[in-house]
Symmetry: C2
Subunit: 487 residues, 2 copies
Amino acid sequence: MQVRYQDIASWIEAQIQQRVWQVGDRIPSVREMSRLQHVSPMTVMRAYEQLEADGWVEARPRSGFFVRPHYNQVMVDSLARPQADSQWLNTHQDVFDVISASHKGARYPFGSAFPDPQLFPMQALGRAMARVLRQSSHPDHFTILPPGDMGLRRLIAQRYLRQGIRVSIDEIIITNGAIEALSLSLAALTQPGDKVIIEAPAFYGVLQTLERLQLEPITVSVDSETGVDINELESALASHHVTACWLMSNFHNPTGASIPDADRPRVVSLLAAYQVPLIEDDVYGELFFSSSRPMPLKAYDTQGGVLHCGSFSKQLAPGFRVGWIAAGCYAMQIEKRQYVSSLAVGAPNQLAIADYLKQGGYDAHLRRLRKTLFVRLRAIRAELKSILPSSTMISEPKGGYFLWVTLDSQIDTRKLFQALQPFGVTIAPGALFATDDRFNHCFRLNVSIDGRERIETASHNEALDGLTQIATSLSALSTHPTVTAEY
Amino acid sequence: MQVRYQDIASWIEAQIQQRVWQVGDRIPSVREMSRLQHVSPMTVMRAYEQLEADGWVEARPRSGFFVRPHYNQVMVDSLARPQADSQWLNTHQDVFDVISASHKGARYPFGSAFPDPQLFPMQALGRAMARVLRQSSHPDHFTILPPGDMGLRRLIAQRYLRQGIRVSIDEIIITNGAIEALSLSLAALTQPGDKVIIEAPAFYGVLQTLERLQLEPITVSVDSETGVDINELESALASHHVTACWLMSNFHNPTGASIPDADRPRVVSLLAAYQVPLIEDDVYGELFFSSSRPMPLKAYDTQGGVLHCGSFSKQLAPGFRVGWIAAGCYAMQIEKRQYVSSLAVGAPNQLAIADYLKQGGYDAHLRRLRKTLFVRLRAIRAELKSILPSSTMISEPKGGYFLWVTLDSQIDTRKLFQALQPFGVTIAPGALFATDDRFNHCFRLNVSIDGRERIETASHNEALDGLTQIATSLSALSTHPTVTAEY
């Protein structure tokens, strides 16, 4: 049995390894620790001397014990109990790995789904946030319950109206980002076991949400230029009893596809004919490269059956987690469901975005953002064209910040992802975007990420280095077919 | 068939009634509307003249058409399609009504679950938020994915440690308020059809979450002083195959009860013996009236089986929606689940709270807050004692801001809730806190709400007026037993 002082010493050591106490932090005083652990000060003192001898802390006269610089060893893991687990946690380990790798300090996070936050007016949002928090005179100011702040909902309704779309303020519900908009919509419309039409390839969040809600996916192909195949959609509706349909109308993730304007009324009327509600994921709609914003499918909805989901995360305020649903006739049931899941969206976040929108710089910001994304996308696409094998197909999206790259069919891009890891380069392998293997030779590439130098003027460009590594790694993979086959 | 200009006029009229355009707003110009609706300017002009004739707008020379002051008529409701609905939306209409009534401008929202936001340091939080948003230099600054900001998680871990509780930084997950902490925990631990031990009475969010996740509640009685009945807990564990247990250890909602310190180890060891994980809802734990914070059940956990859920909403930053779970050995599976439900918590919110905590005023704020709540609770309790019938039982909580009032058994407090509505007074009827009718003669009362005048010094006190109305309405109900019986 370990003696008591060693127990305390190893506990503090574990806390230092787990970064609870960082280099330079003062650990609790001897007296405090003695009180907390119900041991004598002498026992604590012996423990601290032990820690000092082991190089974890140093005593400073009349100040206490401070954490010393040290190698952060492998963590003593308290999370080791085997987990009784649902299946999706394991099947989607790939997604988890890609998101983590892109987020945790990759130099070239081309696999990320997030736009480069340096493209956004954080200073102006900061001023808006400060104004909002100074105005806390009213007792209800920070208790914003579903369906969300009336002022923000009004501003969103006005933007629909300015595009000529009839959306009632009463059908708009503010959500914790678009992810909550989409998953609340699906949860409100379906029961476990129901069939839901989704795209192939689809945003991996769609696949995960269906699995979590125990829904059966019915897939419809997406062309990387023209979007969802309408004939397939029609036959899916005819041959399955479908409860809902989830589509991205504009600058589809991952392909960048957009449904042609002429086809949009037919998509809506087809779904209406089968009385299937449409969850329209339109988070990239503001990032168009043409002269005007594409019409959402919602614009053609005459029966309240389209739930149009948007967000400020992709074009204004990353990290604020403010999205919305224009939920048509489903607004009330979604509002009630939000009460019992997340309850509400951050009040200052909603109020600050409303304040920013009222200041009037939003449209000018969007124009700059679209231009930057267009320039970056064009430059990265041209570079990829020149360095990847000539058989490679690269999408030509009319908006957004994703390229969809299709390689020779024998390449598995999960292998490419792994080969790129040592170089700090990530991609999003095609396998993430379907439940089968038909996109395993594709990958998604985020073109927004170079915030350090403007891509069209830079002599030495960071992002291009990362792209070159993709070509190099791909070339190495292709010339070692046995490695590829082993995957 | 309606002519086109009338169609446009009635559309704008509906928008005005729905508050998309408010009094003083300029509606879109004739040219803009003509372009949007693909009609001639002349048609729009006729529509606007119609609106002017009907008193909705007024023309201002060289400026456009502006919304005039008007009676806001009953809304033209686009949400009228009958809703194919899950059962809980209907069964919990009561909860929805009480929350809405308390929120939507009640003068005395005693039924509210939220603390008065005037008790919180919004100015200091505003300065923290502004600092955080000025520091947006790093590209990852606003992309905080699960498990949340490392700095904030470290500060939370340090607070556990200062209380002598061994919590690893790696088991802490930041959530969108405590509601998400609790529902993520339950979702991660259970499958539909599983049995879960809950309290009776229980926070209505518990009942709603169980219903949403299709879980079967096994109830254990709560004494309004000593909390959950441990003998009942033991026999529930012995006689049912239970998957999880959800308890409030400190200042229970709605009763205010706390489990006696001496009983806490036994609760934890009992659950551990049956290998049943405990979801510990401890959102009121910081609001103690005694000399030190009560130990959570988590403090006695040696096996990682307790998921301790906390939040800053009740004691620091209402509306920020920042809560957390110290999830023991379940941390990884909850983190993954958060990726596919809400994705993440607002980045500036997490960073601002971390910044505020580092400034060092938190403990002083908490001391002031506890004192204020104690003084208000004592004053309101004394007033209720003096004005309600002598048979009334009123809880004596040792912290938090709820009183639990038990009336004569023939009173239905839903009736009292209704009787109070015309006076702008709300209570939370006991029926909300159970799936059966055994608490129908009880109600919960929020004592935090008087932010306008300090209750102990005011000669004319707003909150006391509201209390008097409760006594008056109750008296009227009691003397009309037929009305009560009709409910």
